[in-house]
Symmetry: C2
Subunit: 197 residues, 2 copies
């Protein structure tokens, strides 16, 4: 069941939803989509969520860019979703695995800074020692440019949106090096009126 | 590490966020909270999410009631979160385990119907045979009052909000009977302008 997990680059994906807490939610979502280059990922959207699949670097590049372009509007926006890699049976869209590694949305994000709060949970699948992998990862994330705190069922990260996605990406990447099938759920929120920080 | 998983009733919890896609998001959230009896669960809220913990029946009762009371406003609302049970180390709030089993929000929901779409993923932790538990569950959900379809990394449910939460609850419950630590991520959406159904 883990025969898809070999090779130098593995198919990753993310099912996510962007939530602008605004009457202009359609414009904010479409506006963010217009700013983001999604050509390096397979993409499908319905009324509940969007799924992107391809190389891990591009999956994180696209989700980060969509959130940041939506957050720069100043409206209260959030994004929830689940990253996945090594899911048995996830074999379509392999053509996107030939894309070059350079993330295409980074340049446009260089000047954009926005504070956010994020809660995420890592799930290394099929392993009796999964809690060790989780604890190890929570510990590692302390060394990144984000404030790390513990919550029930989740780890909280606070800081700049790009630094948060960097920490998510690194955590996910380092666990998937050891565990074939890993999922990671997250909720990130910016411009919340409840955040006094 | 699974010493907390014994007993007739186990501590369950959910980290979730309610997302009203409306300028009135604060009023919709506070309005829903006012309608919902949360006295049978431990509850904590910050700017990113809300965590409720207690008996499984009350955790599902409260999340379902909050979503349905927000959805009845007719505004486009969504909720994302992760249910968890049997998490090693989750030991606080045990006092809430003495609450009677009767869900306190059901009567108020009796007359409320609202169509929604939901995607969820079940993660039985620490087991090499986790995929079987997932496939079995996806199959079971076909027999409930919801339309079931497959998606990448998730199962989609369509139908009445109460029937969807019922299916989520039953899926989660039946897997946790076999597996000590189970998590389940979900996103449910109602009144979306993209849903032509």
């Amino acid at each position: 069941m883990t025969s898809n997990s070999c090779g130098t680059s593995r198919l990753a994906g993310c099912q996510f939803t962007l939530f602008p807490m605004s009457d202009k939610f359609v414009d904010i979502i479409l506006g963010a989509l217009e700013e983001v280059d999604t050509s390096k990922v397979w993409k499908d959207t319905d009324d509940v969520s969007t799924c992107v699949r391809g190389k891990m670097v591009h999956v994180f590049d696209v989700t980060k860019a969509l959130f940041l372009h939506a957050a720069k509007t100043g409206e209260h926006v959030a994004m929830s979703g689940t990253f996945s890699i090594g899911c048995p049976g996830d074999t379509e869209a392999d053509s996107y695995m030939d894309e070059a590694d350079a993330p295409v949305n980074e340049t446009k994000l260089n000047e954009l800074y926005r504070k956010a709060g994020c809660k995420f949970s890592l799930y290394p699948m099929g392993r009796a020692d999964y809690m060790e992998a989780i604890y190890e990862q929570i510990d590692l994330s302390k060394h990144r440019n984000v404030e790390v705190s513990a919550d029930h069922y989740a780890t909280r990260l606070d800081g700049d949106v790009k630094a948060i996605f960097e920490a998510l990406h690194q955590s996910f990447d380092s666990v998937q090096e050891k565990v074939s099938h890993v999922t990671m759920s997250f909720t990130i929120s910016a411009n919340s009126p409840s955040n006094k920080a």
